[in-house]
Symmetry: C2
Subunit: 332 residues, 2 copies
Amino acid sequence: MTTRIKDVAKEAGVSTATVSHVINDTKFVSDEVKLKVEEAMKRLQYIPNMVARSLRSRKSNTIGLIVPIKTNDNSNNFFLSVANGIEEVLSKNGYHLLVSNSHEDPIEEIERIKMFNTQRIDGLIIAPTSGITRESCGLFGHYPIVFFDRRPEGVPGDWVLVDGMKSAYRGVSALIEKGHRKIGFIAGRMDIPTSNDRFNGYRKALEDYGIGFNEDYIRIGDLNGASGYEMTKELISQEVITAVFVANNAMSLGAVKYLKDNHYDIPGDIALIGFDDYEWTGIVNPPLSVIRQPSCEVGRRAAEIMLKRIKRSDSICQGHLLEAELIVRGSF
Amino acid sequence: MTTRIKDVAKEAGVSTATVSHVINDTKFVSDEVKLKVEEAMKRLQYIPNMVARSLRSRKSNTIGLIVPIKTNDNSNNFFLSVANGIEEVLSKNGYHLLVSNSHEDPIEEIERIKMFNTQRIDGLIIAPTSGITRESCGLFGHYPIVFFDRRPEGVPGDWVLVDGMKSAYRGVSALIEKGHRKIGFIAGRMDIPTSNDRFNGYRKALEDYGIGFNEDYIRIGDLNGASGYEMTKELISQEVITAVFVANNAMSLGAVKYLKDNHYDIPGDIALIGFDDYEWTGIVNPPLSVIRQPSCEVGRRAAEIMLKRIKRSDSICQGHLLEAELIVRGSF
DNA sequence: CTGAAAGCGCTTACAG
DNA sequence: CTGAAAGCGCTTACAG
């Protein structure tokens, strides 16, 4: 069968302990013995069994990741990009990545977390749904947690967020400085913190520029293209506005689609700023100005924090707030 | 510390073997005893340790997935979508998914496979790079392999592909039936089988309609938007053609961008069919006609085959060829 | 500097 | 129908 550490030990004429120490570099072993062991490993084509190692050492070198991608949202590049960033950092450091999807559903999320618990993950990186609250603490194992994209209150853990408030503020104030006063705001459900933060950025911008807040200019829908389409339609047909800020990527696409379908001139009739810099934003006509989140960086950072936390679990939790930038193109 | 099966056994007044059998339903246990065990588990909040189970039972309930997403290709929804499909099926069946990325680099691919081998995965689902050949067989462990998107020759394993030949055939013959005779073909490197298959579909369509093949109409670049842009530019400036078939998603975007930047009328000056149905294809002007691959279905199917193969490893390997459809919109 | 041995938490023949 | 015990392949105090 497969060769074990015992076989290597016999082949090299040493104890299994010594082989283990050579493999893990956990104690000084003379060069002579080390060489013998290494040659034996090569000769026998030894492949360490990480499962056994995990059991004994009580760490799995595995990090769990839970993303909240909805079933039909197969173009959610934000999370793809974050996952890429995480995978990059982890695999460079010899860690494995176990991936799961909550589909933005709190029930499924709990199931996934429980599954991960049985796997003895060393840490969990998660974009939590609104289901994760102070009461959820007991759900998690004794591993460090890094939240990204959203951050539940009352649950200890590090976090990496993009400053949604500042993001929206940037977009909306750019619209204002172009002379717009009647600015619509479209977002997804407010129980997801990102939507809420961005909404606050919108309000803050209006406030700072001395523009009155008008509730009629707000449309809250679902986080998908169809809803973006509907909300834009509603907003534009019911209100006299000159600009729209869309606080979500899928909805941005819906907004563009509605405006195009109905032959609105962008930015002549309606100025538009969308969220997230997907590739298509550069090729629509006019190219869409957007808020670009540093998504890959979010992933990398989350993974780095996780690895640090695993090394020193004592230090207090900390947050990282990354900044988004406004990409100015032709839509406002 | 954490409670073990031994604690449950003591609490329930039975042996660990009985507890194990209750958990795994692997032998008949009287209802009475079963109940006692179940109550004990609940009382002690017992969480099985899958690592220990894996070690003992020599199966990990974990499948490895290796995708070939290049570093900057964060909009590769094809693989995102496939991964979603895989995750969906696996987690429904109690399996875990370990994800890694080869970045389309054979060297990295080998490293990732080796990492997976140490993890004792029960199976590997992979879109192999061109580095996987007959000689690579020794690289894999004794687990079943399901290839998707591409299929290396001479390596045993099941596979799930989308018929690239037929896909391209469909697109190109649609162009021909619209009256086009001078049709350009743009694709990525030919060492990736998908590009090659699609090229063959292009040739076959020309042949079947009695149109001569002209090598000057072919442009082979890299699998990214910039290259799509360049190839389109070259093709259009050097040749007199009326239509282009682009055999890759990122390159399709580049092609559209070039045509738009240079104010070509689509389909008036140049008719266009792209590859893969990303969300943006519906909102550009005119909406892009594309070949839509059933990406999520590829993932689901790959996972299902994997699970079947794990259950009965005796049956012979089989392939699944899914069909892509032509989505007709306004670009030809 | 190296080795003998216990033990991580399970499953699984085997015996009764 | 249930239990005692071996063993999966490692790591890690401990002794020398």
